[in-house]
């Protein structure tokens, strides 16, 4: 049984990266079996691009795609009118490794399947 690799990426590390660079960095790591834990979230167009890139990279034998999970916090705007949720942590991993993910409001727990990775 091999171990599970986890990569933690700070938001600073991504500050100057273009969307494409971000997405390729994530996919490269996930394709090798790592679970990426990223500070902050992706924009809607980056999320769509992430799905598109994943679809291009799927090969039926070795890489079946990704699972994405997020933890949010409530951030009320300056006037306190709109309660928007901001993503603080994004977790992206190989779909066949991220077996059980349970999410309650503030807690996300994952069980990795190491036989598949």
């Amino acid at each position: 049984m091999e171990g599970l690799k986890m990569d933690f990426i700070s938001s600073e590390a991504l500050e100057n990266a273009s969307s494409m660079e971000k997405i390729y960095m994530i996919i490269e790591k996930v394709k090798k079996g790592a679970v990426v834990v990223m500070e902050g979230g992706l924009s809607p167009s980056e999320r769509a691009e992430l799905i598109e890139t994943t679809m291009r990279e799927i090969d039926v034998e070795n890489f079946v795609g990704i699972d994405v999970h997020t933890l949010e916090k409530n951030s009320s705007s300056f006037f306190g009118f709109s309660k928007k949720k901001t993503v603080v942590i994004t977790i992206i991993g190989p779909a066949n490794v991220m077996k059980t993910v349970k999410k309650q409001s503030n807690l996300l727990s994952m069980v990795a399947d190491l036989n598949n990775g």
């Binding site: 809607p44 167009s45 999320r47 799905i51 598109e52 994943t54 679809m55 291009r56 990704i66 779909a95």
Partner: protein, 204 residues
């Protein structure tokens, strides 16, 4: 009718309305597209199936006109392949597909998802079809909604499969409180009249 209204109508007539059906595999997009097409043109659009990723290329039905008294909506239906972040061909084996068929289906499904995402640039309105028996807060739904908002594309969240015992359309309302949610059963046509009413308002 004022001259201004006249101009608006003229403009509307020239603007083509393309309504995309988006959502997870198996949420009932094709079933709903067929129901709408059957109600207003008498024929089906595509094949529906309990095996996920049944629709693997975008299907288009041009010129559907729905009417209700004064209201009229003239549009093309774009039925898109279900969007997912993963596709494991082994899941198809459980439905009795041969290994080769299953792998081919998986490959086609990946292409279909890319095509569905590309079509977000071309639709003028969207019905986001959500299976009301499942958790609505998913990567797929969040990504679709985020992209529609960013593009200012009007959309309706369709809480589908309300005929099923474990359907919970209220859960969909509670996670998307700022959006219009319409519960229906695409399979037996329950409450689709409500949906048409909301479509006149949203997409005209």
């Amino acid at each position: 009718m004022s001259f201004f209204d006249f101009l608006i109508n003229l403009f509307k007539r020239n603007k083509k309305v393309s309504i995309g059906l988006y959502g997870h595999p198996n949420s009932g997009k094709t079933t709903l597209a067929n129901q709408i097409a059957k109600d207003w043109t008498g024929k089906d659009i595509g094949s529906a199936s309990n095996i996920p990723h049944e629709t693997r290329t975008v299907l288009k039905q041009e010129k559907i006109v729905i009417k209700d008294g004064e209201n009229e909506l003239d549009f093309d239906i774009i039925d898109t392949p279900g969007i997912a972040t993963k596709i494991d061909y082994q899941n198809f084996l459980e439905f009795g597909l041969e290994e080769d068929e299953a792998k081919e289906r998986a490959k086609e499904a990946t292409k279909g998802i890319i095509e569905a995402i590309k079509w977000l640039d071309d639709v003028t309105g969207v019905l986001l079809v959500v299976d009301a028996t499942t958790d609505p807060l998913t990567q797929t739904n969040i990504t679709i909604i985020g992209n529609l908002e960013a593009r200012n594309i009007p959309f309706i969240v369709v809480a589908n499969k309300i005929d099923m015992e474990d359907a919970n359309p209220n859960r969909i309302v509670s996670v998307f409180p700022q959006h219009t949610v319409v519960p229906v059963s695409a399979l037996n046509g329950e409450k689709t009249d409500e949906l048409y009413k909301v479509m006149f308002k949203k997409f005209n």
